[in-house]
C-alpha cells in the first residue's frame, strides 16, 4: 500500500469563499479609489494639446481642422455604424470657449486625428461666465485705445497688474453689494414689516397718521439716500471692470476679447513646473472650499454647502444627544427589565432600519406643516401668506435627521451603559451614593466614549443623508447662510445648501451635466472624506473602548 498524501476536502470551496471576501474588499477600495482619483485630479492642471484633424474630418469645430484642449476621456466603444463590428477608440476633449463653440466637451474618433502636438504660449483663462477659455494671447487694449501686444517685453507684467487690479475691484464690489448694501436692505425690509404690522393693527389710514409710522417712513427715506449713493459707487466700479480688454486667439482661428473684470484666474499650462502645478492645485482646492458657487453651481466653490452641512449636523447633534441618552438611560437603568422593555428595545433597533425617506415624510407633514404652520400663525402672521417656519428650513431638517438618528444613539448608548461593569455600580452604591449619583459620576463617565461613538455614527449618517432633506428644506442655491452677521445671527428658518444634495443637484438637475462632472466628483470626494473620517473615528473609539473594559472588568 502506497502512502497516499491525504488532501483536506473542500479546499477549493475555501478559495471560493475567499473570492467573496476579496471581491467585497476590492469593491470598497475600487470605489474609494475612483472617487479619490477623479476628485483630486479636478484641481490638477491638465496638459493642453493642439489637435489636428485629418482632412475632411466631420469632427471639425466651426470649419477649423485644429483645436486645443485636454483629453478628458479615452475609451473604446462599440462602433454602431453598420458593417463595423469592431470597437473603436474615441477621445473626449475639453475644448472650453463655450461662448464661441456652444459646448465645452467634444468627442472625436481616434482615427480622425492627424496629430496631437504641444501648444507653446497658450493661456487658459478662468472666467466669471461660460467657464474656461483656451487661446493664445494677442494683446491688451487700454481704455484710451492703446494696445500692448504680446510681443512687448512688459506684456506679461502689465497683464498681471491689470488682472490684480481687477481682482481687487471685484472684491470691493462684492463687499459693497453683499455686506454694506445688504445691511441697508435688511434694515429697510425690517422697517417695512413694522409698517405693515401697524397697518394691520390699526387699519391703513389710522396707521399712516401715527408718529412712529412717520418715523419709519423718514428712516426708510434716509436709508434710501445711502442706498442710492452706494449703488452708484458700485455701478461705477462695475463700469471700470470693462475698461481694459484682453484679446486672444483661439486654436480654431477666431479672435476673442474679454474684459479684465471677467477674468478670475489664468495660467500658462505649458509653463507650469512641478511646483507651479502644486501651487495651482492648492490654490484651486482652496477656492473650491472657500468660494461661492457660480454658473448654476458648475463653477466656483461649494463653501455654502460645506457650511450648511456643518451647521445642520451640529444642530442635529444638539437635538439628538440629550434625547437619545435620556431614552437609553431610562431603558438601561430605570426601566424594569422584562418582556416589555425587550420589545421596546427590538422596536428601537428596528427604527434604525426604517428608510430615511419615511422620516422625511414625517418631517414634512409634522414639523414643517403642523409645527411650522402653527408657529407662523402665532408669531409671524404679519408675513403671511409667505411662510417663515411653515416651509422647509434648517431647523426642521436638523430635527428630522435627529429623529432618524435617535435609534442609533440609543442603541450605542445602551451598549455602552451595559458594558459598564456591574461591580463599579455596586461599589458606588455600597459607598452610599444615590442611584443618580452613581449614574452621574460613575456610569456616564465610564460610558462616555460609547456615547460618543453613537453620536459620531449619528453625525456620519446625518451628514451623508439626502433623501429626507429634499423634503424638509435643502435647496440648490441658498441666498444667505443660516448663520451670518445680521441679527439674530442664527437663522433657523432659512433654507440651506448641503453637500449631498449638491451632488444630486449638480449631477441631475444641472443643464450641462458633463460640465458639472468635475465639480460633482470633487464634492463627492469631500463628502466621502468627511463621512469616512467620522466613521473611522467611531470605529477606533469603539475598539479602544472594548480594550478598556477587557482590562477594567474584574
Amino acid at each position: 500500500m502506497s502512502t497516499k498524501e491525504i488532501r483536506p476536502k473542500g479546499e477549493n470551496f475555501v478559495w471560493f469563499t475567499g473570492m467573496g471576501l476579496a471581491l467585497g474588499l476590492l469593491m470598497v477600495f475600487a470605489l474609494l479609489a475612483v472617487i479619490f482619483v477623479n476628485g483630486i485630479t479636478v484641481f490638477w492642471p491638465k496638459e493642453i494639446v493642439e489637435v489636428r484633424l485629418k482632412e475632411g474630418s466631420d469632427a471639425e469645430i466651426q470649419g477649423a481642422e485644429a483645436f486645443a484642449g485636454y483629453i478628458s476621456i479615452d475609451r473604446h466603444v462599440n462602433d454602431i455604424r453598420p458593417g463595423k463590428v469592431e470597437q473603436k477608440r474615441e477621445l473626449q476633449f475639453f475644448v472650453g470657449n463655450k461662448d464661441v463653440y456652444g459646448f465645452m466637451y467634444k468627442f472625436v474618433d481616434y482615427d480622425q486625428i492627424e496629430s496631437m502636438g504641444p501648444t507653446p504660449g497658450i493661456i487658459e483663462l478662468e472666467r466669471l461666465e461660460y467657464g474656461d477659455a483656451i487661446g493664445y494671447p494677442v494683446s491688451l487694449t487700454l481704455k484710451d485705445g492703446t494696445k500692448i501686444s504680446v510681443g512687448d517685453e512688459n506684456f506679461e507684467k502689465e497683464f498681471e497688474e491689470f488682472f490684480k487690479a481687477a481682482q481687487d475691484r471685484r472684491k470691493e464690489i462684492r463687499h459693497l453689494e453683499k455686506k454694506v448694501i445688504g445691511r441697508i436692505n435688511h434694515k429697510m425690509t425690517q422697517l417695512q414689516v413694522k409698517k405693515r404690522t401697524l397697518e394691520r393693527k390699526h387699519g391703513d389710514e389710522a396707521a399712516q397718521a401715527m408718529s412712529s409710522y412717520i418715523k419709519y417712513d423718514d428712516e426708510i427715506a434716509e436709508l434710501q439716500v445711502d442706498y442710492d449713493k452706494l449703488a452708484a459707487e458700485a455701478k461705477a466700479l462695475r463700469q471700470e471692470q470693462h475698461d481694459i480688454q484682453f484679446t486672444y486667439r483661439l486654436a480654431t482661428g477666431q479672435e476673442q476679447s474679454l474684459p479684465m473684470g471677467e477674468l478670475t484666474g489664468y495660467y500658462y499650462p505649458d509653463r507650469l513646473g512641478f511646483f507651479g502645478k502644486i501651487t495651482f492645485f492648492v490654490s484651486h482646492l482652496w477656492d473650491f472650499v472657500s468660494e461661492n458657487p457660480r454658473e448654476a453651481n458648475t463653477e466656483g466653490g461649494i463653501f455654502p454647502a460645506i457650511f450648511g452641512t456643518f451647521v445642520m449636523t451640529l444642530l442635529m447633534s444638539i437635538a439628538v444627544m440629550p434625547f437619545g441618552v435620556l431614552a437609553a438611560i431610562y431603558l438601561r437603568e430605570y426601566a424594569k427589565q422584562g418582556a416589555f422593555v425587550r420589545a421596546i428595545r427590538i422596536a428601537i433597533n428596528n427604527l434604525a432600519g426604517v428608510p430615511s425617506i419615511v422620516y422625511g415624510v414625517f418631517g414634512l407633514g409634522f414639523f414643517v406643516y403642523v409645527l411650522g404652520g402653527t408657529i407662523d400663525d402665532l408669531f409671524f402672521s404679519s408675513r403671511l401668506p409667505t411662510p417663515t417656519f411653515g416651509t422647509g428650513g434648517i431647523l426642521w431638517a436638523a430635527l428630522t435627521l435627529a429623529l432618524m438618528t435617535v435609534p442609533v444613539v440609543v442603541v450605542a448608548t445602551e451598549e455602552a451603559l451595559s458594558a459598564v461593569p456591574r461591580g463599579m455600580r455596586e461599589a458606588s452604591l455600597a459607598c452610599g451614593a444615590s442611584k443618580w449619583q452613581t449614574i452621574q459620576r460613575i456610569v456616564i463617565p465610564a460610558a462616555a466614549p460609547g456615547m460618543l461613538t453613537g453620536l459620531v455614527l449619528a453625525m456620519a449618517r446625518g451628514a451623508g443623508e439626502v433623501a429626507p432633506l429634499m423634503l424638509v428644506g435643502v435647496v440648490k442655491l441658498a441666498p444667505a447662510l443660516p448663520i451670518d452677521g445680521i441679527f439674530p445671527y442664527v437663522h433657523l428658518e432659512r433654507k440651506f445648501m448641503h453637500l449631498g444634495f449638491h451632488i444630486y443637484d449638480l449631477g441631475f438637475q444641472s443643464p450641462d451635466s458633463e460640465a458639472a462632472k468635475p465639480m460633482v466628483f470633487a464634492t463627492t470626494l469631500l463628502l466621502i472624506v468627511l463621512v469616512v473620517l467620522l466613521n473611522l473615528s467611531a470605529i477606533i473609539i469603539r475598539n479602544k473602548l472594548k480594550k478598556r473594559y477587557k482590562v477594567g472588568a474584574f
Binding site: 476536502k9 469563499t17 467573496g20 471581491l23 470598497v28 453598420p82 419615511v358 442611584k435 451623508g464
Partner: protein
C-alpha cells in the same frame, strides 16, 4: 475611658436632603423623559396613519337647505361655478335664479346653523325669448360644461339658451351677475316632427346638437347638427351652423336617445333594442365605428350620461344595473372602440336623472327617493342617500362641494358634499383598474397629468413591484458575496486580518447613498452601457475561474500549497480576480461580435451591439440606467449589513462545536459547511432580512440610477420606480392634504410597515439564535 457606649451619630446615616431630592427628581425626570421620547418616536407611526385615514373615508353629504321654487313646472336644475346661484328651468322655457346670501366676512356662502341661506325672495325669473314665436318645448338637455340648455320643440325647432355667470366685486363682497342669451331657432331638418330627445356638446370652437325626432306616423329618426367657429384675431368667435347629418344606416332599432360628446366628435345613438351605435364626426364626414350593447341587450337603457372628459359613458338600465363604457384605441381594428370597463353597483330606485362632476370622475344617479354618488375609476359608491322627496333633476356643483336636487313638488334641495379624496380607496391603490383610454385593466401610477380632465392613476402596486424588483436584483448580487465573505472571515481568516477587514467592510456601509447613486448614474451606467457582454463574461469568469483555480490548486504538491498559509487565500484571490475581470472585459467585445450581432435594416450590414440585440431578441427595451446598475450599486449598501450580521452569528457559534468537528478529522471546509453554517443559518437568514429591509427603502440610488418609470416587468435592462423614490420625486410638489399628498404618505406607511415587519422578524430570529447558542 468611660464605659459609655458611643452611639454612632444618626446624622451619619442620613443622606443630604439635596441628594435625595435630586435623586428623586432625576428618577422621575428620566422615567418620564425617557418613556416620553420612546413614545414620541413611535408617534411617527400614528401621525402617518392619521394622515392616510381620510383616504379611506366615504363622502359626507348632508342637506343644508331647501326652498320652494316659484316656477311650478320645473324640469332642470343647474348652478354656477361658485355654487352660489342655482337655477331652475321650466318646461315653458323660463328660468328662475336663486342667489344665495353671501357672508361678507368670508366672501362665500353664508351658513347659519349649518344651513345655507336659500330664499326665493331675491329670486329672479327670466323668460328667454327667441326670434319669432316661442314654440312648445318637448325635449331639453342641460350641458353643464358650457352652461347651455338645448331645447327641442314639438314642431322640430331647436334652440340654445346660454347662461353666463360673472362675478361682480363691490366694496366688501362679491356678487354673481347672470346674463341669459338665446340662439336659434333652427330647423333640425326638412322633415318636421316632434323632437323627443336632444343633447348638446359645446366648446369655444364647436357645437354639436344631437336630436331624436318622431314623425307623425311615430317613426323615429336621429340626426346631428354641427356648428363651428373660426377664432378671429380679436378673440370674439361665433358658432355658425354648418351642416346637419341624419343617421339612419347601421341602426338596428328605433333611436330613442342620442349622446354627443368627445371633443365634439363622438355620437352615440341609443336604440330601443338596447343597441348603441357609435359614430365619429371628423371634419364634415360622419363615420360609423361600432355597435355595442350594454347589459347584453337584455335590459333597456333608461339613462345615459357622459363622465368628465366626455369619453366614458355611464348607462343605467331599467332594472337599475349600471355600466361604464369607455373607449380605447384598438390596434387590430385601427380605430377607437368602446368596451365595458366597469360594472358599477346596482341602483335600486327607478332612475330619472344622472349628472356628472366637473372636477373628477364622480357622477350622481338619482331616481325616485334615492340618490347615489359614485366614482367611476374606483367603482366606489361615495354616498347613498334615501331622500324624503322624489327627484326630478339633479346637478353636482362645479367644485364637487354641493349637490342640488329639484323634486316633483317644485322644491329645491341643497346638499353639502364633503369628499376631499374621491379618487382614493382600497381599490384605487391595490387592485387592477381599467382606466379610460386603456385596452385592459392594469396597475398603473400616474399621479399628475396635463389637462383638467386627466384621470389620476394611483395604484401603488407598480411602486411596490419596483421596490421588490430593485431589492431582488440587489440581493441576487449581494447575498452570495456577503455570505461567502462572512464564511471566510469568520472561519478561515486569522484574527489579525479580521481586525482590519471587518472595519473596511463596515466603511462600505457608511458610503452615502447619494454618492453611490451619482457614481452609478454618471460613471458606471455610461461605462457599462456598451459593455454588457463584458459584464456577462465577468459574472461567469470570476466564480468559475476561482473554482477551477481552487481545484487545480488542490492538485498541487503540498510543498507549493504550503506557500500560501491558511487564511491568506483571499490575498491571492485579489490579483486572481483582477486578472479574471480584466480577461472578461477584453473578451466581452469578441463575445459581442459572435453572439450579439443584429442586421442593420437599411443597409443589411451586421452591427455588433448588445443594446440593439436585446430589444430585437427579447422584445424588452434596453435603458442605460437599468436594474443591473441599480442592483450592483445597491449591493454596496446591502453587502456590509449582511456581511457583518452573518459574520457575527457564525463567529458566535460555540467554539467547542467546531473544535469537536476538527478533532474528529473533518477538514476546515467540512467543519464550516456542515457544523457552522447549519448552526448559524438562522443568523444568516436574519441578516438577509435586514439587508432586504435596507434595500427596500433605498432612495437616492434608485432616484438617480433609474429612469423612474413605473413599469411592471422583470427586465433587468430597464428601470423601475420604487416607493421610496416615488416619495422623493413627487412629495415636494404635492399640495398639502391633497389626495396625492396623502397617497404618498400611504406609500411611506407601506415602506415603514414592510421594513418594520421584516426587521422585527429578523431581530426575533436573532434573539432565538442567541438563546440556542446558550443551550447547545
Amino acid at each position: 475611658m468611660s464605659e459609655e457606649i458611643r452611639k454612632a451619630d444618626p446624622e451619619r446615616f442620613t443622606v443630604g436632603k439635596k441628594t435625595v431630592l435630586l435623586d428623586r427628581f432625576m428618577t422621575h425626570f428620566i422615567k418620564v423623559g425617557g418613556l416620553g421620547i420612546i413614545v414620541a418616536v413611535f408617534l411617527i407611526f400614528l401621525f402617518i396613519l392619521f394622515q392616510i385615514v381620510p383616504l379611506f373615508q366615504g363622502a359626507k353629504v348632508r342637506e343644508v337647505g331647501s326652498l320652494d321654487a316659484k316656477l311650478q313646472d320645473g324640469v332642470l336644475i343647474g348652478v354656477d361655478e361658485w355654487g352660489e346661484m342655482p337655477f331652475v328651468f321650466s318646461q315653458k322655457g323660463d328660468l328662475e335664479f336663486f342667489p344665495l346670501e353671501i357672508d361678507p366676512e368670508t366672501g362665500t356662502k353664508k351658513i347659519v346653523d349649518g344651513k345655507i341661506q336659500l330664499s326665493n325672495e331675491g329670486s329672479r325669473i327670466i323668460s328667454p325669448e327667441f326670434e319669432g314665436d316661442t314654440p312648445k318645448w318637448s325635449a331639453y338637455s342641460y350641458f353643464e360644461d358650457a352652461r347651455s340648455i338645448v331645447l327641442g320643440s314639438e314642431d322640430g325647432k331647436v334652440g340654445v339658451i346660454k347662461i353666463d355667470y360673472s362675478p361682480e366685486f363691490t366694496e366688501d363682497s362679491r356678487k354673481i351677475e347672470v346674463e341669459v342669451t338665446t340662439e336659434g331657432l333652427w330647423d333640425a331638418s326638412s322633415n318636421v316632427g316632434k323632437i323627443t330627445h336632444i343633447d348638446l356638446f359645446e366648446n369655444e370652437t364647436r357645437r354639436l346638437i344631437g336630436v331624436v325626432r318622431e314623425d307623425e306616423s311615430g317613426k323615429a329618426f336621429a340626426e346631428v347638427m354641427l356648428f363651428t367657429a373660426k377664432r378671429s384675431l380679436f378673440g370674439g368667435s361665433e358658432l355658425k351652423f354648418v351642416e346637419s347629418f341624419s343617421i339612419d344606416e347601421h341602426l338596428s332599432g328605433t333611436p330613442i336617445q342620442i349622446l354627443v360628446g368627445g371633443r365634439g366628435d363622438r355620437i352615440m345613438v341609443v336604440q330601443d333594442d338596447g343597441n348603441i351605435s357609435y359614430f365619429v364626426l371628423r371634419g364634415t364626414t360622419l363615420t360609423f365605428q361600432q355597435n355595442f350593447q350594454p347589459f347584453g341587450g337584455e335590459d333597456p337603457i333608461v339613462s345615459s350620461e357622459w363622465i368628465l372628459g366626455n369619453v366614458s359613458v355611464s348607462f343605467v338600465s331599467s332594472r337599475g344595473s349600471n355600466e361604464i363604457w369607455s373607449s380605447y384605441l384598438d390596434e387590430e381594428v385601427g380605430h377607437i372602440v368602446y368596451a365595458k370597463i366597469k360594472d358599477m353597483p346596482h341602483f335600486s330606485g327607478e332612475v330619472v336623472d344622472q349628472s356628472h362632476s366637473l372636477r373628477n370622475r364622480a357622477y350622481l344617479i338619482a331616481g325616485e327617493n334615492e340618490a347615489s354618488l359614485r366614482y367611476m375609476t374606483t367603482k366606489n359608491v361615495r354616498w347613498h342617500g334615501i331622500l324624503d322627496f322624489d327627484v326630478t333633476s339633479s346637478v353636482i356643483g362645479p367644485k364637487y362641494d354641493l349637490i342640488y336636487f329639484f323634486d316633483t313638488t317644485g322644491k329645491i334641495h341643497a346638499y353639502d358634499v364633503k369628499d376631499p379624496h374621491p379618487q382614493a380607496g382600497f381599490r384605487a391603490f391595490f387592485s387592477k383598474i381599467w382606466y379610460e383610454g386603456q385596452p385592459e385593466p392594469s396597475y398603473s401610477w400616474q399621479s399628475t397629468g396635463g389637462s383638467s380632465g386627466f384621470e389620476p392613476k394611483l395604484s401603488v402596486v407598480p411602486l411596490v413591484f419596483g421596490s421588490i424588483k430593485g431589492t431582488l436584483y440587489a440581493m441576487l448580487f449581494a447575498l452570495p458575496i456577503s455570505v461567502l465573505a462572512a464564511v471566510y472571515c469568520s472561519q478561515f481568516l486569522p484574527p489579525e486580518f479580521k481586525k482590519v477587514v471587518k472595519p473596511a467592510m463596515e466603511i462600505m456601509a457608511s458610503l452615502p447613498s447619494v454618492v453611490l447613486g451619482f457614481l452609478a448614474a454618471l460613471w458606471l451606467a455610461p461605462m457599462w452601457d456598451n459593455r454588457v457582454p463584458s459584464l456577462l463574461c465577468v459574472v461567469v469568469f470570476i466564480p468559475l475561474g476561482t473554482l477551477i483555480f481552487g481545484l487545480l490548486w488542490g492538485k498541487l504538491p503540498q510543498s507549493i500549497r504550503m506557500l500560501v498559509r491558511p487564511g491568506w487565500e483571499f490575498l491571492v484571490m485579489i490579483p486572481a480576480i483582477l486578472f479574471f475581470g480584466w480577461l472578461a472585459w477584453q473578451i466581452g467585445p469578441i463575445v459581442e461580435r459572435m453572439f450579439f450581432t443584429v442586421t442593420d435594416p437599411t443597409t443589411g450590414l451586421p452591427v455588433a451591439d448588445f443594446r440593439l440585440w436585446w430589444p430585437e431578441f427579447t422584445g424588452a427595451d434596453f435603458e442605460q440606467r437599468n436594474s443591473l446598475v441599480v442592483g450592483f450599486v445597491m449591493g454596496f449598501t446591502v453587502i456590509p449589513l449582511i456581511f457583518t450580521i452573518s459574520e457575527d452569528s457564525m463567529s458566535n457559534v460555540p467554539p467547542y462545536l467546531s473544535s469537536a468537528s476538527l478533532a474528529l478529522g473533518a477538514s476546515r471546509w467540512q467543519t464550516a459547511a456542515r457544523i457552522v453554517l447549519p448552526t448559524a443559518s438562522p443568523g444568516i437568514f436574519s441578516a438577509t432580512m435586514i439587508g432586504l429591509g435596507r434595500a427596500v427603502g433605498e432612495t437616492m440610488i434608485v432616484v438617480m440610477a433609474t429612469g423612474n418609470t413605473p413599469v411592471m416587468d422583470w427586465n433587468i435592462f430597464n428601470g423601475m420606480r420604487t416607493l421610496a423614490a416615488n416619495i422623493a420625486v413627487e412629495l415636494p410638489e404635492a399640495p398639502k392634504d391633497g389626495t396625492l399628498y396623502r397617497t404618498l404618505f400611504l406609500g411611506a406607511m407601506l415602506l415603514f410597515l414592510m421594513t418594520f415587519v421584516v426587521n422585527t422578524a429578523a431581530e426575533v430570529i436573532r434573539q432565538r439564535l442567541r438563546e440556542r447558542y446558550k443551550t447547545v
